[in-house]
Symmetry: C2
Subunit: 407 residues, 2 copies
C-alpha cells in the first residue's frame, strides 16, 4: 500500500468541483460536488441521533434502495436539520437539479449539509450553486482539494488522504475527504466523510467493509461529546480500476479493507486534531483489556472528559482525572492494577503503577504533554484486548467558537 497525493479525485473516474454559492458564509466557497464518470456501488453509515437531518434520511434511502449512486452535492453553512417536511423536500429538489444537469437519475444523487441547525436552505442559491458546480467538475488533485476546502465550517484545515495498492497487477486507489470540528462525537460515523474508490467490489462487501471500519475509526473520535444530527460517511466504488470484482473475503478484500482503514483512520485523526479550538491531538489507548467493548468504553470516556481535556491543554500530567474518567465510564476494572503512561514525540514516561503515582518528573511529563500529538496509554492488566480513541484538548477557543457560532 502506498500513500499518494490527493483526496476524492485520486481514484480513476472521480471528479470534483467547488462553488461560491453564498448559502450563509460570504466570500468563500461553500458548495462542493463529487461525481463519478461511471455509476458506483454505494455504502453509507449515518448518525444514531434520534434527530436526523433531512440529508441523512435522503442518503440512507439512496444507499439502501437505489441500484447505484453517482454524485454527491454538499453545502456548508446550514445543516438542513430540524427542518421538517420542507427540508426533506429540498434534498429531493437539490438532487433533481443536479441530476438534470448531469443527465443521471435523481435517485443516484446524494446530498450532504453541515452548519447551523434549524434554518431552511435558501434553495435559489443552492440551485444556482449546482449550476456552477457541474461545468466546473474536474478530475485533478486540485479540484479534490478545493472541494475539501469548500465543505469546511469551523475546521481550520481541509482534510483529505489517498492510498493505492495492487490487485493482480492492477492499481486500485482509495481517496477520501471529510470535515468536522465541533459537534463531534460520532456514533456510526463522523460529521461528513466521503471516500471514493475505483475498486470493483460487490455492494454487500463494500457495505460490510465500511460498517466494520467506522467502529474503529470515526466512531472512536470525540471533540465535545455532542453526537451530530448530520453524521454521514459515504463510500462510492465505481469499479474503474479494472480489477476482477471482489466477491468474497479473500486476500484482495483484505488489501482493500486495509487501504480503506488507513484512509478512514487518517481522516478520523485529522478531525480530532482539528477539533474546535484544539492545540493538540489527544490519543488514548487502553490495553490489557478483557474485551474490545471494555477497552472502547474506557478509552472513549477518557477522551471525552472535559477535565482531562483541559489538563492536556495545560500540559498538566493530571493523571487522577484520567483514572477518574475510567472509573465513571461504566466499565468494570480494578483501579489498583492500572499502569499509566504518557507518550509523544518528546518521549514516553510511566506515571502510575498499580493505581498509585510513581516518582516521575513533572518537568519531563510537561515536556511530553507539550507536543501537538499526545498519547495516554492505560494498561488495565485483565487480558489482551485493546482500543484507541482520539480527541483533542479543551481550550479557550473552543468556548469562543461556540459561544458566538451563529453570530
Amino acid at each position: 500500500m502506498e500513500i499518494i497525493k490527493g483526496g476524492v479525485t485520486a481514484p480513476k473516474g472521480f471528479k470534483a468541483a467547488n462553488a461560491m454559492a453564498g448559502i450563509k458564509y460570504k466570500d468563500r466557497n461553500d458548495m462542493a460536488m463529487i461525481y463519478s464518470e461511471q455509476p458506483c456501488k454505494a455504502a453509507g453509515t449515518f448518525t444514531t441521533n434520534v434527530v436526523k437531518a433531512a440529508p441523512v434520511k435522503w442518503d440512507r434511502m439512496i444507499v439502501e434502495e437505489s441500484d447505484y449512486a453517482q454524485a454527491i452535492v454538499i453545502n456548508a453553512g446550514i445543516a438542513n436539520a430540524c427542518t421538517g417536511e420542507e427540508g426533506y423536500g429540498y434534498c429531493m429538489e437539490t438532487a433533481k437539479a443536479a441530476a438534470e444537469k448531469l443527465s443521471i437519475p435523481y435517485e443516484s444523487v446524494c446530498v450532504a449539509s453541515t452548519g447551523v441547525i434549524g434554518m431552511q436552505l435558501p434553495m435559489d442559491r443552492i440551485i444556482n450553486g449546482v449550476s456552477m458546480l457541474v461545468p466546473a467538475l474536474s478530475d485533478t488533485i486540485e479540484a479534490g482539494h478545493a472541494a475539501a476546502e469548500a465543505i469546511m465550517t469551523t475546521d481550520t484545515m481541509p482534510k483529505e488522504v489517498a492510498v493505492s495498492f495492487e490487485i493482480d497487477g492492477v492499481t486500485v486507489t482509495v481517496g477520501g475527504m471529510c470535515k468536522g470540528s465541533g459537534m463531534i462525537h460520532p456514533n456510526m460515523c463522523t460529521m461528513l466523510g466521503f471516500v471514493m474508490t475505483d475498486v470493483s467490489i460487490s455492494k454487500e462487501l463494500l457495505t460490510q467493509a465500511l460498517k466494520e471500519d467506522v467502529q474503529d475509526t470515526y466512531n472512536m473520535v470525540s471533540v465535545d461529546g455532542d453526537t451530530s444530527t448530520n453524521d454521514t460517511v459515504l463510500l462510492f466504488a465505481n469499479g474503474m480500476a479494472g480489477n476482477k470484482e471482489i466477491t468474497s473475503k479473500d486476500e484482495n478484500y483484505k488489501k482493500f479493507k486495509e487501504a480503506l482503514h488507513y484512509v478512514n483512520e487518517e481522516l478520523a485523526k485529522m478531525i480530532a486534531g482539528d477539533g474546535e479550538g484544539a492545540t493538540a491531538l489527544f490519543e488514548v489507548k487502553v490495553i490489557g483489556a478483557e474485551s474490545k467493548e471494555q477497552a472502547v468504553t474506557l478509552s472513549k470516556s477518557v477522551v471525552t472528559s472535559s477535565l482531562t481535556k483541559a489538563a492536556i491543554y495545560g500540559h498538566d500530567a493530571n493523571w487522577g482525572r484520567i483514572l477518574c474518567a475510567m472509573g465513571y465510564s461504566g466499565a468494570e476494572f480494578d483501579p489498583e492494577k492500572v499502569d499509566l503512561f504518557f507518550e509523544s514525540a518528546a518521549g514516553k514516561l510511566q506515571i502510575i503503577e498499580n493505581g498509585v503515582a510513581v516518582d516521575y518528573s513533572e518537568e519531563e511529563a510537561t515536556k511530553i504533554l507539550s507536543e501537538d500529538k499526545v498519547t495516554a496509554i492505560a494498561d488495565i492488566k485483565m487480558g489482551t484486548a485493546s482500543a484507541t480513541a482520539w480527541g483533542c484538548d479543551l481550550t479557550y477557543d473552543y468556548v469562543k467558537i461556540n459561544a458566538d457560532y451563529r453570530s
Copy 2:
C-alpha cells in the same frame, strides 16, 4: 416550612469549627469539623465511580456498620483518592485523632476530603488541624458559615441553607452545607454535602428519605460530566428537636421529606450556579414525558452538552443544539412534536413548535438568556412525567481553572 438563616449549626445540638491547617492552600481555612452533642442516626450516599476515594470507603463503612455517628472531619486541597492502603489508613488515623479529642468512639467519626487526586494527605498537618478544630467548636450560625467556607476548593462562594417546620408543636430544623464546582456530575450524590437535622426519626426512614431525594436533587446536577471519585452526602439526625420519633411514612415523615428536599435542591442549585467559571445557572425542564426515566435522560443530556453550555454563555438561542442533545441522549421521542421555550426573570418565549422554529425575536431571546438563571423547557407531548436538571454555562474561565488547577 420556614426558610431560616444558617447551615449545619441551625439544628439543635450541632456545632462546627474551621481551621487553617496548611494542607495545600496557604493563608486560608482548609479544614472543618461538624459535631453533634448527641449521637446521630446517619445516612449517606456515595459516588458510583469505580475509583472510590478512601474517605468514601471509610464513610460507607461507618454509615452501614456503626450504631451511630457523631462527627465529621473535612479537608480541602487533597482528595485522598487513588492513594491505596496508605490513604485508607489515614482516614482511620484522622478519625482516631478526632475521636480521642472528642471522647467518642472512632467508629462514629466520618471523614471527607476534596481537592487533587493522587497525593497523600500530610498527616502531621491533619492531626494538628484536628487539635485546632475541637476546642473551636461552636453552635453559632457564624461557625457553620465559616465551616462552609473552609471546605471550598474552586467554589467562589460558600453554600448553605436551613429550614424549620413543626411536628406536633415541636420545631424541627434541617440545615446543610456543601461544596462543589468542578468534576461535578454526581451519580448518587454531589461532591461533598453535609445535612444535619435535629429531627427524631428511625435510621431506616432517614436512609430511605436521603436515597430517594438525591435522585431528584444532586443527581440532576452536572457541571462538566465528570463524576467524581469523592461524591458524598452525609445526613445526620440527632433527635434533639424532641419530636416523637418518626417510624412510619406518616404526615410527619412527609413534612421532614419536604424540608430535606428543599435543603438538598437549594444546595444542588448552588453547586450548579457556582460551576467552575460559570456565569449562569442553566435549568432544563423536560415535560410531557412518558416516564420519569425518559425525562431524566433527556434533561441531563441537554444540561451536559458542551455546545449547548457554550451557547448559553454566548446568550445565543441556539436551540438546534438542545434538540441535538436530546436526540443523542438514548431516549426515544418524536423530534417533530417538540415544543421548546426559554424562560428567565426577563420573560418566557416559545422558540420551536412541533420541531421547527417559530418566528421568535432573536433580540428578545438574547435578553432572556442574559439573566444569571436561565431555564429551557422542552415539552415532548408524550405523557405527564417531567424532570428538572441543573447545570451552568461553559466559559473561558472553566478552561482556565482546569488547565492549571494543580499549579
